[in-house]
């Protein structure tokens, strides 16, 4: 079952194979949840949106078309629809996620001060992401955290590829400005074009 691709798993799951559906769910659960969580910042809402995305796949498996994009793209598109609906209704959008941020451990536990600084930077990065406007936020989250290609981001957001590139550039520029005090510890300087 692990060797099956998403298309095979989706077909088996539509025929009632619970094991195939479970495998498909485990593969994509965290990424769909994290996308919703980075967009909303509220764990309970993000879980509800993730649930709705998978329920759409359960109730209407025919809506997933492998020719149009990957299964993750489909699930993220459904989740994005619910996210935007939530935000349009004036749903709560927190300034920072409701968990304390943390970096992925490097494996070196012998530097407590470095770990503390990393945690502080993680919280700062999360706050900076949450302060971006939703179109820029979804572009940077889908690219940097979900690792989707430009075309896949365009499918998820329903935007043109060039617009995706523009949004990514603007999001990176804002994040770089916001995180400059933390990112230039090594003393590097901005430069003029040669």
């Amino acid at each position: 079952m692990i060797d099956f691709d998403d298309r095979q798993l989706a077909r088996l799951a539509a025929d009632g194979d619970a094991e195939a559906f479970g495998e498909m769910y485990r593969r994509h659960r965290d990424r769909v949840f994290n996308f919703a969580y980075r967009m909303i910042g509220v764990r309970a809402i993000a879980e509800e949106i993730t649930h709705e995305a998978f329920v759409v796949l359960i109730e209407h498996p025919e809506r997933y078309s492998p020719e149009r994009g990957s299964l993750l793209t489909f699930l993220c598109a459904v989740a994005r629809h619910h996210v935007m609906h939530y935000l349009r209704r004036g749903g709560r959008e927190v300034d920072a996620p409701d968990d304390t941020g943390a970096f992925v451990a490097d494996g070196g536990d012998d530097d407590p001060l470095g770990a503390l600084l990393d945690d502080e930077l993680a919280a700062f990065v999360e706050r900076a992401i949450s302060e971006l406007p939703p179109p820029l936020r979804e572009a940077i989250v889908l690219r940097e955290m979900q690792e989707l290609s430009y075309e896949e981001i365009a499918v998820v957001t329903g935007a043109d590829v060039n617009l995706v590139k523009v949004r990514l550039h603007r999001a990176r520029k804002r994040l770089k400005e916001r995180l400059a005090p933390y990112m230039m510890r090594d003393g590097s300087e901005s430069h003029e074009l040669c």
């Binding site: 994290n34 940097e144 990176r172 230039m184 040669c194």
Partner: protein, 226 residues
């Protein structure tokens, strides 16, 4: 490739979306331009910082809810598959609750009855008079007094139609007034002396004729009856 071109290629190169030919030109430029190399390094640092933010884990409750939704859906499918095909067709097609369905059917029946017994146009509505005329004629006998040689009452059959309209009720005059109005002058027989035994019976007063005495009343017999 100069710095301006390199700057436009920076994001696509970072994302691995640059064509191989332009990617090699970009790399050659980075090798000779320390400032662009530094900017590319900053972009890589930003990416590293973003990707090092630990992903969150959803709660186990979410797993249970999603798997329960899947089981519920496919249990329902299995139940539908076990019933006969014509019932399955109805179940698939009719997905409204039974009470709502029953209420809908009742409303539909009422609407159908109302349509059948609905109001017709005014031109098609039968008036009470027409309805009365359509009724079976009824023969009744109305006493009509006909003045003949001898005063007597003859019953003449007259056909009248039953009307459904109630006639306007007029104030009935007093019986004595009717009697005085409807009283006809009594017939008087006169003898014409110049023409022999010819006599006239009239209610008018004839001058120059000798009035005859009134005959005594007698019972008509046999052929005398009319």
């Amino acid at each position: 490739m100069n710095c301006v071109e390199a700057k436009s290629c920076l994001d696509p190169r970072l994302d691995g979306e640059l064509e191989p030919a332009r990617a090699s030109l970009f790399d050659e430029h980075l090798a000779v331009c320390a400032l662009c190399r530094s900017e590319f390094g900053e972009a890589e640092n930003l990416r590293a910082a973003l990707r090092r933010v630990a992903p969150r884990q959803p709660s186990a409750r979410l797993d249970g809810r999603v798997m329960e939704a899947y089981r519920r859906r496919h249990d329902a499918s299995a139940a539908r598959a076990s019933i006969p095909s014509w019932q399955a067709f109805l179940v698939r097609r009719v997905s409204v609750p039974a009470p709502a369905l029953a209420l809908g059917l009742v409303l539909f029946a009422l609407a159908l009855l109302a349509a059948v017994n609905g109001r017709r146009p005014a031109s098609e509505v039968e008036s009470p008079i027409e309805r009365g005329a359509r009724a079976e004629p009824r023969i009744v006998e109305v006493p009509v007094e006909v003045p003949v040689e001898r005063e007597r009452v003859v019953r003449v059959p007259v056909i009248v139609y039953r009307a459904a309209v109630q006639p306007e009720r007029k104030e009935k005059p007093a019986r004595s007034a009717v009697a005085s109005e409807e009283r006809r002058p009594a017939l008087q027989s006169y003898k014409d002396s110049s023409a022999g035994e010819i006599s006239y019976s009239t209610s008018a007063a004839l001058e120059g004729f000798e009035p005859l005495p009134k005959p005594a009343a007698r019972v008509l017999k046999g052929a005398e009856k009319w």
